[in-house]
Every structure is written in structure tokens, then in C-alpha cells.
């Protein structure tokens, strides 16, 4: 199955980013395809390379980058939501790209399921 993900919450402050990543890993392991991961609202903070969690904690941002590297997963950050929160090209972690909300609507059209993570 072709699956799109929408993440609406920031990392560490909310479970959404963890759940979404775990969902993506599980789906890929079962042979599904992750068509796109779209980051919106505070979810855009998942994409900043400035993130430096304590050493004994998971690195949520690097985890996404690794997913993109290993599976070619398309990680898209909303440009408008990003600009509002100071997330611009210069501080984008590897594997992410910035684009418009049209990419979210397209994910809804092209994937068999769009799964939303957030409140």
C-alpha cells in the first residue's frame, strides 16, 4: 500500500513525531511504501539540523534523515509554516526539502491512505 503521513506536532514536546516514525518503520518492514511525509504546524521543527538532544535520548531529526537515506522517503516541510517558525533552507537537516501545501494535497490524492499524527 502507498501511504502518506502528515505530522502536525513538534519533536520531543509531543508523541506525534515518535509515533509517525515508528509507524513508517513498521509499514516499510511490512513491504508498504511511504509515498511522502509532510511536516506541518509545529511539525516543521522535526526538520531542523540545529537539534541537539541529550546523548542518552533518541535523535528524532537524525532518525528522519536516516529514513530518507535508507528508503528514499520524501520528507517535505511546509514553506509557510516553516517561515513562520524560522525554519529555512540553511538549517534544514539532510533528506528534507521545503515545498508548498500542494504537496500535502497531492499526498492525499496519490496515496492509498493519508495518516495524520497530531492532536
Amino acid at each position: 500500500m502507498n501511504i502518506g503521513l502528515l505530522i502536525n506536532e513538534g519533536p520531543y514536546s509531543h508523541q506525534a513525531a515518535d509515533s509517525a516514525w515508528q509507524f513508517a518503520k513498521a509499514a516499510l518492514a511490512r513491504g508498504h511504501r511511504i509515498q511522502r511525509v509532510f511536516f506541518y504546524n509545529d511539525g516543521v521543527h522535526n526538520a531542523t539540523k540545529l537539534t541537539e538532544p541529550p546523548q542518552d535520548d533518541r535523535h528524532i531529526v537524525n532518525r528522519w534523515s536516516r529514513l530518507a537515506e535508507e528508503h528514499g522517503t520524501d520528507l517535505v516541510v511546509c514553506v509557510a509554516a516553516g517561515l513562520r517558525r524560522g525554519l529555512v533552507e540553511e538549517n534544514l537537516a539532510p533528506g528534507f526539502r521545503i515545498s508548498g501545501l500542494g504537496q500535502l494535497v497531492e499526498a492525499g490524492i496519490e496515496s492509498d491512505r493519508l495518516v495524520v499524527f497530531g492532536d
Binding site: N8, Y40, N41, A81, L101, G102, V105, V116, D119
Partner: protein, 135 residues
């Protein structure tokens, strides 16, 4: 099938895709950014010629209240945008009756024409959708 025929078929198929998108609004217009950024997605989706509807339930019904005045809290009053939705061919606005009643709001206090539906009917509408984006 030739490559050209395949391309044509794929293109025709891509054009024909019209999905039912429902945007579910559950939060008050102010206090968090969900309502405002949710509305931005609705406006973009209108450009994709999809079958778009909006649902308002829980505190989301406050988004449609007439006479919103945000000057004192120093944030943008985006409520007029709901009136502009019609111009984008977004005309299906569903509001849950139970949510209105629980908050003492009547349909006459809303700033746009809506369809008031029961929680059960709302569940049926959601069941019919291809894509549900909630915030």
C-alpha cells in the same frame, strides 16, 4: 501497449482522480494556530479540483461565530475567510449539532451558511471520505 499509449492512459487517469477530502476542525479559532493553518490547507486544496468539505465539531464550532473581534488579543481575525470559501467552490460546511448545543450556540450566530448535522450523521459523512485531515 506502446509507450505513448501508456503515457496517455496514465495522464488521463491522473486527471480523473477526484477524491473526497474532509477537513475536520475541532479547535477554537484562537489560542492555538490549528484553525488558521488548517484553513490555509483548505484554500490550497481548492486549486486541486477535489471534492472538499469542512467539518466543525467540539470547540471548532467557535471558528464560525459571527462578530469575532481579536484586536484586544493582538492576533489576526481570519474569520472573514470562511465567507470567502464559496468563491473557491468550497460549499460543504458541516457543523455538529451536539457541539453547538453544548456551547449554547444557535445556527443564526454563525457567519456562513452551514448544514447542521447530528454526531451520527457526521460519522456517516466521515465514513464516505477518502482523505480526512484533522486538527
Amino acid at each position: 501497449m506502446t509507450q505513448v499509449a501508456e503515457d496517455i492512459e496514465r495522464e488521463a487517469g491522473a486527471e480523473a482522480v477526484v477524491k473526497k477530502f474532509m477537513f475536520v476542525n475541532r479547535k477554537a479559532p484562537h489560542g492555538t494556530i490549528y484553525a488558521l493553518e488548517g484553513l490555509e490547507v483548505v484554500l490550497i486544496s481548492a486549486a486541486f479540483d477535489q471534492d472538499v468539505s469542512l467539518a466543525f465539531l467540539d470547540d471548532g464550532v467557535y471558528q464560525l461565530l459571527k462578530g469575532q473581534e481579536t484586536k484586544a488579543i493582538g492576533v489576526k481575525n481570519f474569520s472573514p475567510t470562511y465567507r470567502a470559501l464559496e468563491g473557491y467552490d468550497v460549499e460543504k460546511l458541516y457543523v455538529e449539532r451536539e457541539s453547538l448545543e453544548a456551547r449554547g450556540i444557535s445556527e443564526q450566530q454563525l457567519l456562513v451558511a452551514v448544514q447542521v448535522v447530528s454526531a451520527g450523521e457526521m460519522a456517516e459523512l466521515m465514513e464516505q471520505q477518502d482523505v480526512i485531515i484533522s486538527s
